[in-house]
Amino acid sequence: MTRPTRSVPEAAAASRPRRGARAGPSGSGAPAGPSRGRLQQLEDESVHIIREVVAQFRNPVMLYSIGKDSSVMLHLARKAFHPGPIPFPLLHVDTTWKFREMISFRDRMAREVGFELLVHTNSDGVAAQVNPFDHGSLHYTDVMKTQALKQALEAGRYDAAFGGARRDEEPSRAKERVFSFRDRNHRWDPKNQRPELWNHYNGRVAPGESIRVFPLSNWTELDVWHYIAAEHIEVVPLYLAAPRPVVERDGTLLMVDDERFRFEAGEQPEMRSVRFRTLGCYPLTGAVESRAATLDDVIAEMARASRSEREGRVIDHDRSGSMEQKKREGYF
């Protein structure tokens, strides 16, 4: 595949990171990644999907979780509509328990890229002081994420919502459609999904119904990292190893991100070199010990990785089949 000649230098410059995690030059330590052809194919497929949504829907929104997948999705959305702006807003469901670095990254990206950022928090949950320490991950996630997301989608009357989920993340996602139909109550019925053939996507919905769209369906975790490196996509620095204050609880490393952290008896924060494979609410997101301080290190570490990505998420361990259960309830 011939690579573009850069006749639009401003655009090329705008896609480069200024601060935060940077892609180093291809180091000799990093394993040979997939060829540009594969990433190009994945990019083309995703761009096609994103454009299809804008063509078919009246009022789409992109869910922006600030994570690496969201960063890739945002990058693809910019590509899909270049030289125009992204023609839909990005929505962040803020549980108020995200890592502080995520929030500052979010606000800076909105300023620098120039997209419309919407932030929604479930104010009922805040008023009831729902938090991950007192209420357990299931109840907390339901109130501050699932319910909050429904509130925001209903308030905005969105008929399509982009999400950054990938099919390789978790077994129940292997059968997820690219255009995933949700009924009026945002419920997902795995037995009542539309067959998807070729690249002819059926986005027709009745009022109140909606489609969740997953443009990264066919990407793997490693593809995402290779693409971030190849395209110089900026990600939250928490993905790279650094000394951070953590406590070890039931085998999970939790980062003490602010003064709200509840220590259990005998717990003392200690500085360890850690990074995160996924980002979410800091009290529910486990870190991994790592020395991978650059993207190339991360990719090299991934190649040796022996634990799958969602393992750091407390929510997935509540019970077997729990992600499928949450999706039925409307969790993304």
Partner: protein, 646 residues
């Protein structure tokens, strides 16, 4: 069905291969996939640990690590031990990355297989070494071929249960080869494996030293997935240009670009192109991407192009090269895989979608259904879930298309139910359909010759106004009997009639027609044309036809003119019709000797708003005739007057 076609439209690069796996629950397909993932070291420790744990709890592998659990995702199927939908799985080796579409082998297989096959480069078909080639193997091969997956590998699984016997493998390979030849498919590669124990999947294993071919993974890593143009160093591929426009980008008044994915050929800056359906030509000015302008973009690239002329281009248009235009038309024949619980009904309207082209369409006829056991096309009126049928589809606007064998994107479509918005069918276009005679357009030089005698003059001479009575109903409903009695009664009253009986039509004017829905429709059309001529002469036409299709009767009404068309529905119970059938037609239909017999093996659409409904099991012939006469008198087609009390 299912020639080894080589469609364009999903050009791939050799470093990514999309696989379709097909086989039944018992063939060990999920186990084979699990084995590929496991032995190519694609599994993370925590997921593997979960599978070890679940194997102990719910596994069906009898003490072995249940690798099928890796492929089967949803709770319901874990409990049932079967796969219920298409699952996409990912793995890569240093040679290649793979996307597996895993489709189930049980009752929903056609729908799911078609879905998985629509994007696949290569099919992996499982055969049980003990059972050998089965009907199902033929079905899977046939559907894969039909969907344009021309490359196939047959994994002869469970070699452990066949004693790793070379002779057994060779005889199955010979059977597979013969089957492919009979189906007109490219010859598949056969590989002996034991998914349960791992022999022949990733490593050769110690049990089949007689086999000197590649292991399955080795083959998948190196196979040239035929059916897709090889990408050269420049990414340049051959073929005609097809760039369906998804979206017009107009961020400000200075820029107007057309976004879309090239589904065949190469778009180049400076090339002259044609825009369908307008047919306008222009030149590609720029190929704009986020990373800068391109000189050219090949198959699969999602691009934005600008043109040198300000011509009107919108979503659904297709940018093509000048030399090889696509086809266009309002009628196509297509093979569809029916995916809905609700049957296809001839005459129903659906939305047809092909990328940006969305239009209303009507299924005007079912040409045949594929019998998946014999792989022959058989006559059919109903098309049900998982059926594969050939249809004629009529659209309300022109469809731009290529035959599916030439392009998977511009040759395919989905049908959408307009009420539920469900995707009900996947369609593969064969060709433009010849227009049915109903739509045939007479030559432009023809001119209708008018009579100098006015209809008022005729009415005065004949003492009647022209009308066509259509007596419709099942065989045995009494159509000919009542037509005969009515004709006699009108004659006695001094009226002038022409009787058009279906049977007489078939003895003459329609002697070339059979009894398919298409031929029945044509027989009604010819009768209606005759009735119109008869009416134009001021005469009363009495047509006695089964005319089972409501849509066709409606067309007859339009042709003759709604104000002079009377639909009389003769509606006795079916048992009464059967009891009157002295020719034994119903029994012959029951035995399958007569096919597509309305009321037995083909539908009869009961008229929803007939002008008259007569139950001939409760009314005798005279009563029926009196009712029709009363209707004609009330409509002032015939003068009111003393009914002859013969």
């Amino acid at each position: 069905m299912g020639p080894a076609a080589v469609p364009e439209g999903t050009g791939r690069h050799p470093d990514l291969l999309r696989l379709l796996t097909c086989g039944s629950v018992d063939d060990g397909k999920s186990t084979l996939i699990g084995r590929l993932l496991h032995d190519s070291r694609q599994l993370h420790d925590d997921r593997l640990a979960a599978v070890y744990k679940e194997s102990a709890l719910a596994g069906h592998a009898g003490g072995h690590l249940d690798l099928a659990l890796l492929a089967d995702g949803l709770m319901a199927e874990r409990e049932q031990g079967i796969t219920i939908d298409v699952a996409y799985l990912y793995f890569s080796t240093p040679e290649r990355s793979f996307i597996i579409a895993d489709t189930p082998g049980h009752e929903q297989y056609t729908r799911n297989m078609a879905t998985g096959a629509s994007t696949a480069d290569l099919a992996v078909i499982l055969v049980d070494a003990v059972r050998g080639v089965t009907t199902q193997t033929r079905r899977h091969s046939s559907i894969a071929g039909l969907m344009g997956v021309s490359a196939a590998v047959v994994a002869v699984n469970k070699m452990d249960l066949a004693g790793y016997d070379e002779t057994r493998f060779r005889s199955i390979a010979a059977e597979v080869s013969a089957m492919a030849g009979a189906l007109g498919l490219a010859e598949p590669v056969c590989i002996p494996v034991s998914a349960l124990h791992g022999d022949g999947v990733v490593e050769p294993g110690a049990n089949m030293s007689w086999y000197d071919g590649p292991c399955l993974l080795d083959h998948l890593e190196h196979v040239d997935a035929a059916g897709h143009p090889p990408a050269g160093a420049s990414g340049l591929v051959g073929g005609r240009l097809r760039l369906p426009v998804q979206l017009v980008l107009r961020p400000d008044h200075r820029f107007r670009g057309f976004a879309g994915t090239v589904c065949e050929g190469t778009v180049r800056a400076g090339d002259r192109v044609r825009v369908e359906p307008s047919g306008r030509t222009t030149a590609i000015e720029r190929i704009v991407t986020f990373d800068g302008d391109l000189e050219e973009a090949g198959t699969g690239r999602a691009v934005v192009v600008t043109t040198s002329d300000e011509i009107d281009i919108g979503r659904g248009d297709v940018i093509v090269d000048l030399a090889y235009p696509p086809q266009r038309g309002r009628r196509v024949t297509a093979t569809v895989v029916w995916m809905s619980q609700a049957d296809l009904v001839v005459g129903s309207e659906y939305l047809l979608a092909q990328g940006g082209q969305t239009m209303n369409c009507r299924v005007s006829e079912v040409l045949g259904r594929l019998d998946v056991d014999t792989l022959e096309s058989v006559p059919a009126d109903a098309v049900r879930l998982n059926d594969i049928a050939t249809l004629t589809v009529r659209t309300d606007t022109e469809l731009i298309f290529d035959p599916y064998t030439q392009n998977r994107t511009t040759g395919s479509f989905i049908l959408i139910d307009r009420a539920s918005n469900a995707t009900v069918a996947a369609g593969m276009i064969e060709a433009a359909a010849p227009a049915a005679a109903w739509e045939a357009v007479p030559g432009p030089t023809l001119e209708r010759q008018r009579s100098s005698i006015t209809s008022a003059e005729r009415a005065q001479r004949l003492g009647q106004r022209p009308v066509t009575l259509l007596l419709t109903g099942l065989t045995g409903a009494g159509k000919s009997t009542i037509a005969s009695a009515l004709e006699r009664e009108l004659f006695e009253r001094g009226c002038t009639t022409v009787r058009l009986d279906g049977e007489n039509m078939r003895l003459g004017v329609s002697r070339d027609l059979g009894f398919s829905s298409r031929d029945r429709s044509e027989n009604v059309r010819r009768t209606a044309e005759l009735a119109r001529l008869v009416n134009d002469q001021g005469l009363i036409a009495i047509a006695a036809l089964v005319a089972p299709s409501a849509a066709v009767r409606e067309r007859a009404r339009e042709l003759i003119g709604p104000d002079r068309f009377v639909e009389v529905f003769l509606d006795p119970p079916l048992e009464v019709c059967r009891s009157r059938d002295h020719a034994g037609l119903y029994e012959a239909a029951d035995r399958g000797e007569i096919r597509q017999f309305p009321g037995v093996s083909a539908p009869y659409d009961k008229p929803a708003d007939a002008d008259l409904v007569l139950d001939t099991s409760r009314l005798d012939v005279d009563a029926c005739v009196r009712a029709i006469l009363a209707w004609l008198e009330a409509g002032r087609f015939i003068p009111a007057g003393g009914t002859s009390e013969a």
